[in-house]
Symmetry: C2
Subunit: 346 residues, 2 copies
């Protein structure tokens, strides 16, 4: 094993920590330093220049905590992942990460930090508690799950709060989401056009969004007047469990469906694995449509036909809506269009 190189230089002795330290160095008052660093042009250009250079030289950044105290803002947005009733690995769902990843970009661009919280709701006032603790300027909730009540209650008295998800008729809170009913219609219609007559819906409608997708599917099937049947199968959202659920469903079904509409790409991919694992050809024997258009949809083999939600745009709108609300605007929910992406499983 090679020997390690020696210790590096110990760093400068005179540390500039506060705006006051820098002021002393520059021979001006803390107030001037503050203004200079903030780009306030009340201060002379020469002085301003000198202060900035000093700050640069000493790698000085003013304390965000003190600033936030004075400014009365927090500089951070809470992104809350609400796990509804399923604890554990649910968070590893690629859907969350896709969303979070986009949100992180948007928030960073606006100079805000992203505070991540997982919540497993115990009482129904967990949201009020978080709001009362007040460490952030606003909340973005991902996955309204079955927590509509908590959400509504909190939104009644607290403005800067937006949620990703379905848009209900009477909701008081601001939501951004795609048109899940229309998405459900698109997927189901597509399966029927491809010749499917026995369609299985894989997903647990306890989650509002999934309920909407199911509603769309039902509507289209009903319009066929009995020529097409819909088999509704509650499937866990959790990646860990949905595989088993799907296998159990296939084992118990008397006849294999000829079409499957999975409420989620994660579920769809799991279904795909189970089906191919049992020698059922996709799309030969069964046609399959997912929902979300996550990266895995395109990457799966065969590539997954799915209903696309534009997460990048969704994240952008969530953040924009939130900041408008922080500014005091009482704005409306958004429903984004859903789009069918046809690939190789249908």
């Amino acid at each position: 094993m090679p020997s390690c190189p020696g210790e590096p230089t110990p760093g400068e002795p005179q540390k500039v920590r506060t705006i006051g330290d820098l002021a002393r160095l520059a021979g001006v008052s803390p107030a001037t330093v503050s203004r200079a660093l903030a780009g306030n042009r009340l201060v002379n250009a020469t002085t301003s220049q000198r202060v900035r250079q000093l700050a640069e030289a000493h790698a000085f950044k003013p304390s965000a905590v003190a600033r936030n105290l004075r400014i009365r803002r927090r500089g951070a947005i809470a992104v809350v992942i609400c796990l509804g009733h399923e604890r554990g690995q649910h968070l590893s769902d690629p859907f969350f990460m896709t969303m979070i990843s986009h949100l992180a970009d948007e928030l960073t661009d606006r100079g805000f930090q992203l505070m991540l919280s997982r919540v497993v709701p115990d009482s129904d006032d967990w949201l009020d508690d978080m709001i009362a603790a007040d460490p952030v300027d606003g909340f973005i909730l991902i996955g309204q799950s079955d927590q509509l009540a908590a959400l509504e209650r909190a939104a009644a008295g607290y403005l800067p709060l937006v949620a990703w998800g379905a848009h209900g008729a009477c909701q008081r809170h601001c939501s951004v989401g795609s048109d899940n009913v229309e998405g459900g219609r698109l997927a189901t219609r597509h399966l029927i056009e491809r010749g499917c007559r026995r369609i299985a819906f894989l997903g647990n409608p306890r989650s509002v969004e999934i309920a909407h997708r199911l509603a769309g599917a039902r509507e289209v099937v009903r319009a066929q007047g009995g020529r097409v049947s819909l088999i509704e199968t509650p499937i866990h959202l959790s990646t860990t469990l949905s595989g088993h659920d799907i296998a159990a469903f296939l084992a118990s079904a008397d006849a294999l469906p000829d079409g499957m509409f999975a409420a989620t790409d994660s579920i769809a991919v799991n279904a795909l694995q189970v089906l191919t694992g049992r020698g059922v050809a996709v799309p030969g024997d069964v046609k399959l449509v997912g929902y979300d258009d996550l990266p895995i949809a395109a990457a799966s083999v065969p590539a997954l036909t799915t209903v696309r939600q534009d997460f990048a745009q969704g994240a952008r709108m969530l953040v924009q809506r939130l900041f408008d609300r922080i500014a005091g605007e009482r704005n409306e929910s958004v429903v984004l269009p859903a789009e069918l992406v046809v690939r190789a499983t249908s």
Copy 2:
């Protein structure tokens, strides 16, 4: 569409925002309120009780910002996802979420917030910049990727910084990770015991951890003295791309390997999809071992044999190490044991 219910009660008029407001209500001084809320037993039990009840009644939580300013701490830990060279969906890798999810739990338990940052390194002093901005009490880096240099430099002058990943010989920073070399040995030895003679390694050794896994594999193969061959195939880490890489590899290989060691469960699952998609039986024709033991490993069909990294324990140690460092202790890196989990693909 049903009509929506009327507006709820508008909320109490007299809002208790500061510790001073509460003090006035309780007829004591702000100092006493502060102490009472903090559980300081310098204050009379009766007074303390009364103050707490008032606080409870008005749902009052003292401002974390002001507290942090006074206390000289931030109350948050930055968790930095370093995307090395691959931008985009990399973050949706379930590995990150598994880790983040555990970290969120650990940090929340200790009363700290989790600030999430994605970083696509541009210059090599991005870490120093983040440290200088100083909005947090410490840093946890996930995925050292190819950023060892930046890491080492920052760690030289800044204590509260730990990283998940491989442990190098001369590193100055504190890392927590599993024994990747041993993991590589375990997987490879297992494949050989199962009768494999042509083993493919799927993974890009540009990432330090993967390089170590490969080193372990090489060592075991070399010890077989030519009876076993190792085919090294760089595969993207990104879920989006690895499927194609694997397909390309299979198409280009003259003969199919009889064993595959994927550097990651994500890669393994993709390989599994590609293989079964082509009618290659797993484990019949090809035996497959992954790495990480992510939730998808157990959920995949057939269930994946893999090398387990205990992320829960890893997260716990990362946080514990970090807090010890925040307290001033200059502690050592940890290497956790790797463990083979035999399931159905081998």
